[in-house]
């Protein structure tokens, strides 16, 4: 048997062993399946940052047809008229208790002023304890009021030199939050497992003492670690396929605009490289519990500095720098590029390069530490 085929045989039996072990760990398997299906489904269907049925009350002091007309324009899907409030105090109470998000106050004489062509005003109180939605509600309300005003003054008269904007939203025309949430949760889950699984597999060998048995065998440290990472990569790819074809496409209609094989290939590369962080954790941890805690310490910054929620341009500068050290940042670009934007790998090469550089560094560090610990 020559050296190469021996090397391959050793890799093959180790690879088979890792897969079998994983297959017999029912609890872990159940957790993997849960994360790639239920968890992603919940995230995709649960989180929406759009203004939906904002609870709106009207304090109509005027009681004119114009005031009723204005109030009736606060319609679903953005607004939901809940009823009238009799007084300012009732309005305050509704707002501070959280029952009302918006209170529209129409002052006395509103209808008359409008009929006489005199400028008038209405007041909107917005609960901005949720800033994003408060801002959206106010800007939709502005548009409703502006249109109402223009229509009363100018109904059907000469055209005016206004700017008519047509907005085209690319890649997600209806701004489906489920697409974004679903995909980014999938990426999070991939990241979590690609760090956690190899760490757990390596620490388990340490904990049970089987690592010594492998070290006295003619395996190199690379041959011990590589099959772990490879088998975990395979499992994660299977999970990813499950999430894409079992949840994201059938339930939410996520388009797969770009090359799906390329997505899987780059996912494999990503898993492979983030595994380096897990191996680093495994060389430090003495048991499974410690490995779990360490991976949390590694994962939390990786996930939240990825720019999925807050773009780097909106972060303080010192923090934005760290974004570039999260491999997930590059993987997010790649995944959205391939799944939503339909980009080609050629167009994504800077991200691919960044991801590889970080991953290689982590993997090399993990391997080096392992070698030093057991070499």
């Amino acid at each position: 048997m020559n050296a190469l085929s021996l090397w391959c045989l050793q890799l093959k039996v180790m690879f088979g062993k890792e897969l079998r072990q994983l297959g017999r760990d029912r609890v872990l398997l159940a957790f993997i399946v849960y994360a790639f299906t239920v968890d992603i489904f919940l995230a995709a269907s649960g989180v929406s940052l759009q203004l939906k049925l904002a609870s709106t009350y009207v304090e109509d002091v005027d009681h004119s047809s114009a005031s009723r007309e204005l109030a009736s324009r606060f319609l679903p899907p953005y607004f939901q008229l809940q009823g009238e409030l009799a007084s300012e105090r009732a309005a305050d109470a509704a707002l501070s208790s959280g029952r009302a998000m918006l209170v529209l106050t129409v002052p006395a004489g509103f209808g008359e002023d409008l009929a006489r062509g005199e400028p008038t005003h209405v007041q909107l109180q917005v609960d901005t304890s949720n800033a994003v939605l408060g801002f959206l509600a106010a800007s939709y309300a502005e548009q409703i009021v502006a249109r109402f005003g223009l229509e009363t003054v100018d109904a059907g008269k000469t055209p005016l030199p206004v700017i008519e904007n047509r907005t085209r939203v690319w890649f997600n025309p209806n701004q489906e939050d489920s697409w974004f949430m679903g995909i980014s949760e999938l990426l999070n889950v991939i990241t979590i497992f690609s760090v956690l699984l190899p760490a757990a597999a390596a620490v388990r060998e340490k904990e049970r003492g089987t690592i010594e048995q492998l070290l006295v065998s003619p395996l190199t440290p690379l041959q011990i670690l590589l099959p772990k990472v490879l088998s975990m990569t395979l499992v994660i790819l299977a999970g990813t396929a499950l999430a894409l074809f079992g949840v994201l496409r059938p339930c939410f209609g996520v388009p797969m605009a770009g090359s799906v094989p390329a997505f899987f290939a780059l996912t494999a590369l990503y898993v492979f490289t983030s595994a380096g962080f897990g191996l680093l954790a495994a060389t430090v941890a003495r048991n499974l519990a410690q490995a779990g805690m360490l991976t949390i310490l590694i994962l939390a910054p990786m996930l939240f500095l990825s720019g999925a929620w807050t773009p780097p341009e909106a972060m303080p500068e010192w923090l934005a720098v760290f974004t570039h050290f999260s491999p997930l940042y590059y993987f997010i670009n790649i995944s959205f590029g391939l799944l939503l934007k339909g980009q080609t790998v050629a167009a994504l090469w800077p991200s691919v390069l960044g991801m590889m550089a970080l991953g290689m560094a982590a993997f090399a560090a993990g391997l080096l530490r392992f070698r030093r610990q057991f070499g």
Partner: protein, 634 residues
């Protein structure tokens, strides 16, 4: 009649489908040191936990201090009078807390008044010689010290009954003797009752009464001599010229034949010493001849194995007619040449040299931390030496990985893989060809007696079979050199003997060189040659027999003092300047160069009998290491 502290009747406990304990009946009297002896999985722990009121049980009755333990509230009511030390080295203690903080916590937990707690703590720490380490975090103590601290914590509230679950497992022989000594003193002094379990058969003599347990049942109970009487017989040993043939001849007639270095040891049931000796001689002479016949009374382990006779067929490990090369002339298989290893300032191993020849079983002995494991790691190429080197079958240790077999402490099997998957994995790792892999799989299954269990998960095997499977995995690539690091912890005596039979055949018939480290001194007897390590150095290097002779020369022969006044004789011996006395149940052991003087003292004292005993490797080990410790302390 003494009052009963524990009374179990038809006690049973099951975990899911597995019946862990069935139909156990026993009684422990007040002031008694009662032993539960049996291998892992015999059901000792379940019984002990139920006695301590920390485990529900399924059938039978269990009374502690006359209280029926069936109900939680009843169990709760007696807990103040009980102390429990669960299994595992220091597992019930808090690693990050210091010795003193641990003791204080237990005192407060048990609501011991401050003044009383302080007095008791000082006394117990003094007795256990832990007083100097009171500020040290528990996790930095040695195994023996952890167990002594566990004992202190268990005793801090002055319980009337203590339940100690395998307090000496994983502790080196010196610390083990120390532990028993302290326990015996405390029990005697405070009128305690104690229920203590152990997996070491040779500790049985420490108990006043005991129960032998196996697979959830009690095989026998009573005083040690009563149990020995259950299978009366004699043990004959001799040194045959053709060990393999002689062994085969004996094994055909007797169930228990063991090879101990160049000797054979046979248990002859039902015969007195002389008759047994001549019966053995007849068989051995037919297969060559033998010298150095010796005989003695059977030991507990022989009886235990005999009681389990059903599961033990005569073994045929030595049927091959091949005459192996005598170990002395064979070429060297393992050579350690001035091996040394430092970790920072700490010298783990320094200047270790020895040679193991083909077909030789070489034992490496030493207390925890003596450097055995580090030495093995260097020889197997896991750890590069700081200086010195070694050769395996003439090849430098840096490049030997594919030539050696290695079996580590925990039988490092993959418990979530099946038997055959484990074997195939190692066959693949060592690059065996497809045909060879199939052949070796069959060989390992047969050797380990696992043919019908090939598709069973390793986790479901009992320890004895796991151990043989691990051995098979280590042998799958036919190594010429095999390293075994504490290979038999937790295995029952029957399994252990089967294991040694395999090792015997490997060395004598196949000429494999074996290097073994062990805590079981009874196993050291199996080796052809021993090296004793202390503080990283080899301090003795000889055959077991030579080591015993040397000890006898230096310190004298071993005597056992029994009789109803035996324990009261200890201070008399001390006054006469005869040190090294240890308590075994109701008798004493003492090393003495002047047998006549001892006999005179005994007859003066009255009520005691003095009898010479054969030195064991444990005696050698304990005495040598104690002397070295004293020297190092100075």
């Amino acid at each position: 009649m003494d009052a009963l502290v524990i009374r179990a009747d038809g006690f049973g406990k099951r975990y899911g489908k597995r019946q862990a304990v069935s139909d156990v009946s026993l009684a422990v009297r007040k002031g008694e040191l009662f032993g539960l002896i049996g291998p892992d999985g015999a059901g000792k722990s379940s019984l002990m936990k139920a006695v301590a009121g920390v485990l529900r049980y399924d059938s039978g009755t269990l009374e502690v201090f006359g209280t029926d333990m069936a109900r939680d509230a009843a169990a709760e009511s007696v807990k103040a009078r009980i102390g429990l030390m669960p299994q595992g080295l220091g597992q019930n203690l808090y690693g990050d807390l210091s010795v003193e903080e641990n003791v204080d916590f237990f005192a407060k937990l048990r609501l011991v008044p401050d003044a009383q707690a302080r007095a008791r703590k000082e006394k117990l720490l003094g007795v256990t010689r832990l007083a100097d380490f009171r500020a040290r975090p528990m996790k930095q103590l040695s195994g023996g010290m952890k167990q002594k601290l566990g004992l202190v914590c268990t005793l801090i509230h002055a319980p009337e009954l203590i339940v100690l679950d395998e307090p000496t497992t994983g502790v080196d022989p010196v610390s083990r003797r120390d532990f028993w000594q302290i326990l015996a003193e405390l029990v005697a002094e405070q009128g305690l009752s104690a229920l203590v379990s152990t997996a070491y058969m040779d500790e049985a003599s420490r108990f006043a009464r005991m129960a032998l347990m196996h697979e959830g049942r009690v095989l026998a109970q009573g005083q040690p001599h009563e149990i020995l009487a259950l299978r009366a017989g004699s043990v004959v040993s001799c040194v045959p010229q053709e060990q393999v043939r002689a062994r085969a001849a004996l094994a055909a007639n007797y169930a228990q034949v063991e090879a101990l270095g160049p000797c054979l040891r046979v248990f002859v049931p039902g015969l007195a010493r002389e008759a047994a000796e001549s019966a053995v001689a007849r068989l051995v002479d037919a297969a060559g001849s033998a010298t150095a016949y010796d005989s003695g009374e059977a030991e507990l382990e022989d009886v235990f194995v005999a009681l389990l006779a059903g599961s033990l067929a005569p073994t045929d490990a030595g049927e091959a007619a091949a005459v192996p090369a005598a170990p002395g002339k064979a070429s060297p298989a393992i050579e350690a040449i001035s091996l040394a290893r430092r970790f920072g300032d700490f010298v783990a191993v320094s200047d270790v040299s020895f040679t193991v020849r083909e077909g030789e079983i070489f034992g490496l002995l030493g207390a925890n931390g003596a450097g055995k494991t580090t030495a093995i790691k260097m020889l197997t190429g896991i750890l590069p030496p700081s200086s010195g080197g070694g050769r395996i079958a003439g090849v430098d240790i840096a490049r030997v990985k594919s030539r050696i077999g290695y079996m580590s402490q925990a039988f490092s099997l993959y418990l979530d893989l099946t038997v055959s998957e484990n074997i195939r994995l190692y066959a693949g790792l060592y690059g065996l060809s497809r045909a060879e892999r199939a052949a070796r799989l069959d060989w390992v299954l047969e050797m380990a007696g696992l043919q019908t269990l090939a598709d069973t998960l390793a986790a479901e095997l009992p320890m004895g079979q796991r151990q043989r499977l691990a051995l098979g995995c280590a042998l799958v690539h036919r190594p010429r050199v095999l390293f075994l690091d504490e290979p038999t912890s937790g295995v029952d005596p029957v399994g252990r003997r089967a294991f040694w039979d395999v090792l015997f055949k490997l060395s004598r018939v196949d000429g494999v060189a074996l290097l073994v480290t062990t805590h079981y001194m009874s196993e050291a007897e199996h080796c052809d040659h021993l090296a004793l390590m202390f503080a990283g150095r080899i301090v003795a290097d000889a055959t077991p027999q030579a080591m015993k002779v040397a000890l006898e020369h230096d310190l004298g022969a071993l005597y056992e003092i029994s009789g109803e006044k035996a324990l009261a004789f200890a201070p008399v011996l001390a006054a006469a300047g005869l040190g090294g006395v240890s308590v075994h149940g109701r008798s004493l052991h003492v090393l003495c160069r002047d047998g006549a003087r001892l006999a005179a003292l005994a007859s003066e004292h009255g009520g005691v009998r003095v009898r010479a005993r054969v030195l064991t490797m444990e005696d050698v080990f304990v005495e040598r290491v104690r002397a070295l410790e004293k020297e190092a302390g100075r």
